[in-house]
């Protein structure tokens, strides 16, 4: 596992992503946006706002039972917010060549702009989520 992006003279050519599932959909965060990954505390630390991923991403009115809740904090130095996700499945290096933009109608109709692309891992579609946009857009 490598939390650093590997660079070429043209800029980055790959970066690590953290993969997890909600329901039957796979999602991934860019590890460069992820601070700590930890067990969910019984009580959130003072001054930290916790939010469930499925609520932030826009699963309307659906309830999900996470198998093993984990808390992802932001690598922004503020330590004031964190997202609860289902237990991560993997961290893999994603080549920029393997990133697909979302189709026009998805981008067009999306109320949030947090899902910025997709990739295939073992033949399955994985949605790439911008952690900061996920938090910032409601």
């Amino acid at each position: 596992m490598n939390n650093n992006t590997s660079a070429t003279t043209d800029g980055i050519d790959s970066f690590d992503i953290l993969i997890f599932s909600i329901g039957k959909t796979k999602f991934a965060f860019d590890m460069a946006q992820v601070g700590n990954l930890s067990e969910k505390p019984k009580k959130p630390a003072m001054g930290v706002t916790l939010a469930s991923f499925h609520e932030k991403i826009g699963f309307k009115g659906e309830k999900f039972k996470y198998k093993a809740e984990k808390v992802v904090s932001f690598l922004d130095g503020k330590n004031d917010k964190a997202i609860i996700i289902n237990s991560p499945e993997d961290i893999v290096a994603l080549s920029l060549k393997n990133i697909h933009p979302m189709p026009y109608l998805i981008n067009f109709s999306s109320r949030k702009k947090a899902i910025w692309g997709a990739t295939f891992i073992d033949g399955e579609i994985v949605l790439l989520v911008d952690l900061q946009k996920l938090w910032d857009t409601d």
């Binding site: 697909h100 189709p103 109608l105 033949g123």
Partner: protein
């Protein structure tokens, strides 16, 4: 020299009938045709202009994308490219509820119009036929008021009449939905 036998009235009529049939064949060959793709949706037959349908895909796993409009069923992998899939029944007002992607079966027709490419979920694809333009009819007056705005015409199909859906109007509706 043997005299040519005089043709009977029935022979002459038959000759004329055959000449007319040949003429009709020539007209048929020259007549402009349109390819129509007949699909089934909510138990009824509709048709798309074949020029707007790029592919007919076997139904496969649709990945749900949260936070999108109700008419979006999700995305699919089409030979390494990601395409959206829309719920046509929802768009043209045939169903109020969005189809549940975890328990539906059918086909996905990959359509492209006015620069927008998307999969369209349908119950089944029934037929693909070249039809003379002269066989196209105006839209049926009995169409439901929900469906009528998306129909450009009608065509006889297997003893019934199928409404021809206009992809341009569907795409315009998709853009208006936002």
């Amino acid at each position: 020299m043997a005299k040519k036998p005089k043709k009977s009235r029935s022979d002459l009529i038959l000759d004329e009938a055959e000449r007319l049939r040949e003429e009709k064949k020539i007209v048929d060959v020259d007549e402009e045709t349109i390819k129509l793709v007949f699909i089934k949706l909510s138990g009824k037959i509709y048709a798309f202009n074949g020029a707007d349908i790029k592919e007919i895909l076997r139904f496969e796993k649709i990945t749900f994308v949260p936070g999108t409009s109700d008419y979006i069923l999700g995305i699919i992998n089409v030979r390494g490219e990601i395409e959206s899939v829309i719920d046509l029944g929802k768009i043209i007002g045939l169903s109020k509820k969005t189809a549940n992607i975890s328990n539906i079966t059918g086909r996905i027709t990959l359509a492209e119009k006015d620069g927008i490419k998307t999969g369209i979920f349908v119950d089944s694809v029934e037929d693909m036929v070249d039809v003379p333009i002269s066989m196209l009819k105006p839209p049926l007056s009995s169409l439901s008021k929900n469906v009528a705005p998306f129909v450009s015409g009608g065509i006889e199909h297997k003893g019934g009449e199928a409404a021809i859906l206009d992809m341009r109007k569907i795409v315009a509706k998709l853009k208006d939905e936002q």
